[in-house]
């Protein structure tokens, strides 16, 4: 089966044409007193205006961990449903999803234990909609067919893992000086190992070139990759450090993953969260 060819057919116009429903995301975060009236924006529209849509998602360690937990809930339920769906071919895909699923569930448990250990009530698991309002059918619940469903399962996994890497990175600074920094970095690395494998399962490189979402990824996922084209690291344009292919735009962008702000991570996750 040629997955890439398939995915090309599924670049989802209907998703972009859907009326962007603004969903109030972290009702649960709100219950913690965080100022988190956050709106959902389709992936593809999230690039520019989201700063004006979303309020500060918080910059303290607890907010960072609650955001992490929400993303882990999302990933955990996604892989759980994927494994139950019957869509995944046996062999490598199933082996990979089982290993990732095990980790995401462990992350959920770990973060809940950590928050509770600190005397904080963990956010509750949101209600997820992995069809994103009917744009996808990754578990073949609505009869899109095994092959298309599988292509969507892979594409969503890539988007979730690459988002997770960027989101954890974006929260590291908020955990500076906290005992949770090291475990957060340890989870961050695991998400990157997942992302690499899922990307390669889809026939891509394990790393992100420029701001390319990669062949077959729906245009709606572009917000996951915007900003990855950055070449200025610590004030240095790394393409100027030397000559040769190691300092090309491609290599220079692949060699550094970029962070995602809490707001941007929330905007992406919100597409799959049903408002209360």
């Amino acid at each position: 089966m040629d997955i890439i060819k398939f995915l090309d057919g599924f670049t989802n116009e209907s998703l972009l044409n859907e009326k962007p429903s603004r969903r109030d995301m972290f009702g649960t975060l709100g219950s913690l007193g965080k100022k988190a009236v956050l709106s959902a924006i389709p992936f593809g529209l999230a690039t520019m205006p989201n700063k004006t849509f979303a309020q500060d998602s918080g910059s303290d360690p607890v907010s960072a961990l609650q955001l992490a937990l929400t993303l882990e809930y999302l990933e955990g339920e996604f892989y759980d449903l994927a494994l139950q769906s019957g869509v995944l071919p046996s062999g490598r895909p199933e082996t990979v999803y089982m290993q990732i699923s095990k980790h995401e569930q462990a992350h959920v448990d770990f973060l809940i234990a950590g928050l509770e250990g600190a005397g904080v009530t963990p956010v509750e698991k949101p209600t997820f909609d992995f069809t994103a309002g009917g744009a996808f059918d990754p578990f073949n619940d609505n009869g899109v067919g095994q092959e298309t469903a599988y292509a969507q399962l892979l594409a969503l996994a890539q988007a979730f893992e690459d988002t997770g890497v960027r989101a954890y990175k974006g929260q590291a600074g908020n955990l500076l000086g906290s005992d949770f920094l090291t475990p957060a970095l340890q989870i961050h690395a695991v998400e990157a190992m997942h992302a690499s494998e899922v990307r390669r399962l889809r026939g891509l490189k394990g790393w992100i070139t420029n701001n390319e979402r990669g062949a077959g990824m729906p245009e709606a996922t572009q917000a996951v990759y915007n900003g990855e084209e950055n070449v200025t690291q610590g004030g240095v344009d790394v393409t100027t450090l030397g000559n040769g292919a190691a300092f090309s735009m491609e290599a220079s962008t692949e060699a550094y993953d970029e962070a995602l702000s809490g707001d941007d991570a929330v905007a992406i996750a919100s597409l799959f969260i049903v408002s209360e």
Binding site: D109, L176, D179, P183, L185, E197, A246
Partner: protein, 245 residues
């Protein structure tokens, strides 16, 4: 300085050290790297040359120490992949050639970035910048696929664990972010190499490296990493890490 915000369950140490030492079984002869570490964890801020009267470079403490430490590891990775791509093992597949070539590009980029960043951080005082290291791979056979990929895997796994363990030693948020930008790429590398070694398996984030109960990748202190690196004998230029834990 560090506040306890959240209680963390004890983290199982992964088996990197053993993996690193396993290289010895492949006929890599140790060649006496002089790496010593103290358990001091109280270094903050940058100091003048920590060893003004010594010919042996010390990485330093605090952020400078961590940057020099990362620079040492990136020098090793960059040098290793330079040798790999300059004489690929026989019958290498297109996929393996692409992966190893990309890793070479990335690590060279990281190495040169650290040199520039550290030099800037110490206002050009090159006495505080880790010098260019020399390497020797002993009996490592660069024409042997398994030896090359296994060594690459150990280097990538160790690099990830090193960055994970060093994050808490960084006080400048900008440096922490930079380390984060690099470590996830190293983790992507580690995953890719692991799959090349055992295709179709769960090794891309295997139970030997990620704790099964908490889903955490390895994190190791500099002393553990440098001791393991020292045991390989790859690094010929002696240096110390007396001010890192």
């Amino acid at each position: 300085m560090r506040k306890s915000i959240v209680k963390v369950e004890p983290v199982k140490k992964a088996t990197n050290r053993r993996q690193f030492l396993k290289l010895g079984g492949m006929g890599v002869v140790g060649a006496g790297l002089l790496v010593a570490c103290s358990n001091d964890d109280n270094g903050m801020g940058m100091m003048p040359d920590p060893n003004p009267n010594s010919d042996i470079f010390d990485l330093g403490q605090g952020d400078l120490g961590v940057l020099n430490y990362a620079y040492a590891l990136e020098q090793l990775e960059a040098d290793f992949y330079t040798k790999v791509v300059n004489s690929f093992y026989a019958n290498i597949s297109d996929e393996e050639m692409q992966v190893l070539t990309d890793l070479y590009y990335h690590e060279v980029n990281h190495r040169d970035f650290f040199k520039t960043a550290i030099t800037a951080a110490v206002d050009g005082n090159t006495d505080l910048v880790l010098p260019t290291l020399e390497f020797d791979y002993g009996d490592l056979d660069f024409n042997n696929r398994e030896q090359v990929l296994t060594t690459a895997s150990v280097l990538e796994d160790t690099g990830v664990a090193a960055y994970n363990g060093a994050g808490r030693l960084i006080s400048n948020p900008g440096y922490l972010l930079l380390a984060g930008k690099i470590v996830s790429v190293e983790a992507r590398h580690a995953s890719a190499i692991r799959t090349l070694l055992n295709p179709g398996s769960a090794d891309f984030a295997g139970d030997d490296y990620v704790t099964t109960d908490t889903g955490l990748a390895a994190a190791l202190d500099p002393s553990v990493v440098l001791s393991a690196v020292g045991d390989t004998g790859f690094i010929q230029t002696p240096f110390t890490a007396n001010n890192l834990p």
